[in-house]
């Protein structure tokens, strides 16, 4: 896998080297032997699918948690990064996607939070703070930002600049930027690149994480591709192409964990036409038929979960039509969606799916209380039967129905979140990342169940960030980007390269959906 030796720019010595980093979390091998290095004045891009290990890697470099094995070397000396402060002292600063600023405080206060200049007797030296801020602003030629502005009143782009200044005020020599352009306007992206180039000229090493290939070609010197926690390749940007990078990112063997059953595809169950819900659902049209599994691929932030929320009535549509089994319907709330035979398994089972303090029995019956309650009271025998059937059918490993659900493993929790909908005999299931963060065995079982459910005539709309899952499970694949469906592939046409390219927007001549 990782045979490709990390290439070295011979002219500049590495400022930061990462050697053979390994990290695993319970049940997940997040990083296995990742190495790469960044030279002074280099912009080094990290590229990989969701879950490839980029976030874990930058968290290790920024001292959020230590690696299990391997070392981080700064200026040729190994550094022991146990906490974020260790990284700061080593000259490493990280700018996360969610900016960590104090909205009520001024630009200067935010920049010097924690290391403000002192004026004796522990007093803050406000004048020095303001002057230093003005100097920093001038050094990056930022003229539309003043030291006294309150950060809460700034645009996202300006807030990001404050974070960058904050890093510089701590003499950071290595700057990690995690998807810095995700929330920026085009103009702000241009300005960000100007700043990155200035930092580069000063000798700052930048680790740049982005999904957007065009940005990588615009700003980075080298790019390292990660996949499934392993180092795949490091390339000079000048020597590679977008096609090659996509191939490196997704070029994984599709291990068919559970063979797809071919089932008879029936009448349309869900028909969506020109669905609108700003900002991330723009003119969506799609159809899911009985027995069909439609995969919805796209990058994080492409609007897939938002679309699911709109169909399920969490954020009701502002325009467009939804038909369920041919009937035009108006879905204004999840309760309405449930009554229409729609089930939704949310993306984050911990915060959106499972009621942790409740028992397995209670979680299983939660979406079907109306079916097992008579005169407002729950029939305990029906409930036990419902939950018992679910446990058996989904092979949930639990000591009893009275087990507190929060104590089960992730895979078993997910089976409950999925299983609770079946008591309702739904016609359509929307699954948002149905196998994220669960072990291989549980994953295979969930895939098997999806196949079975489809065979029984259920329509399934599956959102997944794992291409092998999308390609392995789907009868059809839709690709979303920036709130629109940008491509549709039949099962035969859907290759990793084609779907990957549509996700990244690498070329815009992908076929438009009618």
């Amino acid at each position: 896998m990782a045979n490709d030796p990390p290439l070295r720019e011979s002219a500049e010595p590495s400022l930061l080297s990462v050697r053979d980093i390994e990290k695993s979390f319970p049940g997940v091998n997040a990083l296995s032997g990742v190495s790469f290095d960044v030279a002074k004045g280099e912009v080094h891009a990290l590229l990989g699918e969701n879950g490839a290990g980029k976030s874990t890697l930058i968290k290790i470099i920024s001292g959020v948690f230590p690696p299990d094995r391997g070392e981080v070397i700064v200026d040729g000396k190994p550094v022991n990064l146990q906490r974020p402060d260790d990284a700061r002292r080593a000259g490493i600063a990280t700018i996360y996607q969610e900016l960590l600023l104090f909205p009520e405080l001024t630009v200067a206060e935010n920049i010097f939070m924690g290391h403000a200049p002192r004026a004796g007797l522990g007093r803050l030296d406000w004048r020095a703070m303001r002057e230093k801020t003005t100097d920093l602003l001038a050094s990056l030629a930022i003229h539309d930002l003043q030291a006294d502005r309150v950060v809460g009143s700034l645009s996202v782009g300006n807030r990001q600049r404050v974070e960058i200044l904050r890093a510089l005020s701590q003499d950071a020599r290595i700057l990690i930027m995690d998807e810095p352009t995700a929330a920026l306007t085009e103009y702000d992206v241009t300005r960000l690149f100007d700043i990155v180039r200035k930092l580069k000229a000063r000798g700052v090493a930048v680790i740049y994480i982005s999904h957007r290939l065009d940005e990588i070609f615009a700003i980075a010197d080298r790019v390292t591709v990660l996949r499934d926690g392993a180092h795949i390749a490091t390339k000079r940007v000048a020597d590679t192409t977008a096609t090659e990078l996509v191939h490196l990112m997704v070029g994984r063997k599709i291990e068919s964990l559970f063979p797809k059953i071919t089932v008879l595809i029936g009448e349309p169950v869900l028909e969506v036409k020109d669905l609108e819900r700003r900002p991330l659902t723009k003119g969506i049209s799609l159809t899911v038929r009985a027995g069909e599994i439609v995969g919805l691929a796209g990058l994080v932030g492409s609007g897939r979960s938002e679309l699911a929320h709109t169909i399920f009535g969490v954020t009701p549509a502002e325009g467009g039509d939804i038909k369920i089994c041919g009937q035009a319907v108006d879905i204004g709330s999840p309760a309405r969606a449930r009554a229409l035979g729609v089930g939704y398994v949310p993306e984050d089972r911990g915060t959106q799916g499972l009621v942790r303090p409740m028992t397995v029995r209670e979680n299983f019956s939660l979406a079907a209380l109306g079916k097992i309650a008579f005169g407002g009271f729950i029939d305990r025998a029906s409930e036990r039967k419902l939950a018992g059937d679910g446990v058996k059918r989904f092979a949930v490993k639990t000591s009893s129905l009275e087990q507190v659900a929060g104590k089960l493993s992730g895979g078993n929790q997910q089976k409950i979140v999925l299983g609770k909908w079946l008591a309702n005999q739904p016609k359509l299931l929307i699954l948002d990342e149905p196998t994220r963060g669960i072990d291989v065995g549980a994953k295979a079982e969930i895939h098997r169940l999806m196949g079975e459910l489809a065979a029984q005539g259920l329509a399934i709309l599956m959102i997944s960030s794992e291409l092998p899952e999308v390609l392995g499970m789907s009868d059809r694949v839709l690709v979303m980007r920036e709130g629109r469906i940008v491509a549709e592939f039949s099962r035969d046409e859907a290759t990793q390269e084609a779907v990957g390219a549509a996700m990244m927007g690498e070329h815009d001549n992908v076929e438009k959906v009618a």
Binding site: A335, T351, V355, P357, G376, K420
Partner: protein
Amino acid sequence: MTAATFTRDEADPRRLLKALASQEALLAIAVIGLAIAVGLYNPRFLATRNLSDVLLGNAYIAVAAVGMSMVIISGNIDISVGSLIGVLATVSGTLAVNGAPIIVTWLVPLVVGVLVMAAQGAVIAYLRIPAIVVTLGMLSILKGGLISVTGGKWITDLPDSFHLANIELFDTVPMPVLLMIVATILAAVWMRHSATGRSIYAVGGNAEAARLCGISQPRTTVMVFALHGFFAGIAALLYATQLRVIQSTVPPNLELTIITASVVGGVSILGGVGTVIGSSLAAILIAEIASALVFTDVSPYWIRAVQGTLILITVIADILRRRRMAGA
């Protein structure tokens, strides 16, 4: 993948231990154990007269704690209930003194209690304002309003028929105690077996998950506050009728005592966990401790410190339990 996914063992001795370790069982043991211990020190503590006084004088706290427990289980809190009880008691007493039919004096507090609390629930649920802020506002309105309207004048000359404590079932169980037991049991059954009760646990345990299951959080919140208002109405009646006079003020720190009973009774302050039986038992335990202090010659002023200690112990135990669960 066999059907034998359960590893249940009916004869597991740990099950018995687990049942005994439940908050309700611990509280029941504490109530009885404390009575025996204090009785050994001072037998007068066990006199029927004293035990009955303890129950009669605190039944209203147990009843109010039932409603409070529902509110906390749903993920909310209410600090206006003490003031509301004061207002409802005064309203009821004023009606009684002015010759209103007894049934009216008993029903009005229930209706007003439900309306006031439902209104608060609606503000919390539909305007999405934190419960502590809304009920803090209501606390001041009720408390200030009460003292301004009555001028702090006591209500005396209450008709005899007004006093619930004079009514006894089979000549032994006084009405307040009966109401406390019935309210607790009905509420416990309802919370455990009704679909709405289940929704309350679900909303408190994970509001987002409940919403995505089609459970309406706003409706559940209004419902739970309305019920809480109903129990506050009963509590106000018990409070109003226990003495010959009504003081027209809010009993100091009453809301805190009620919240203490709920929390010590095992209701998680984070929502989603707890039972109303536990909170009634805890209300009795707290009252018993207060009485025990007197009978063991300890200054009764210690009762606040004891309450505080009980709260801290139960909350810490709850947090540790949750953390262990999250780690598992």
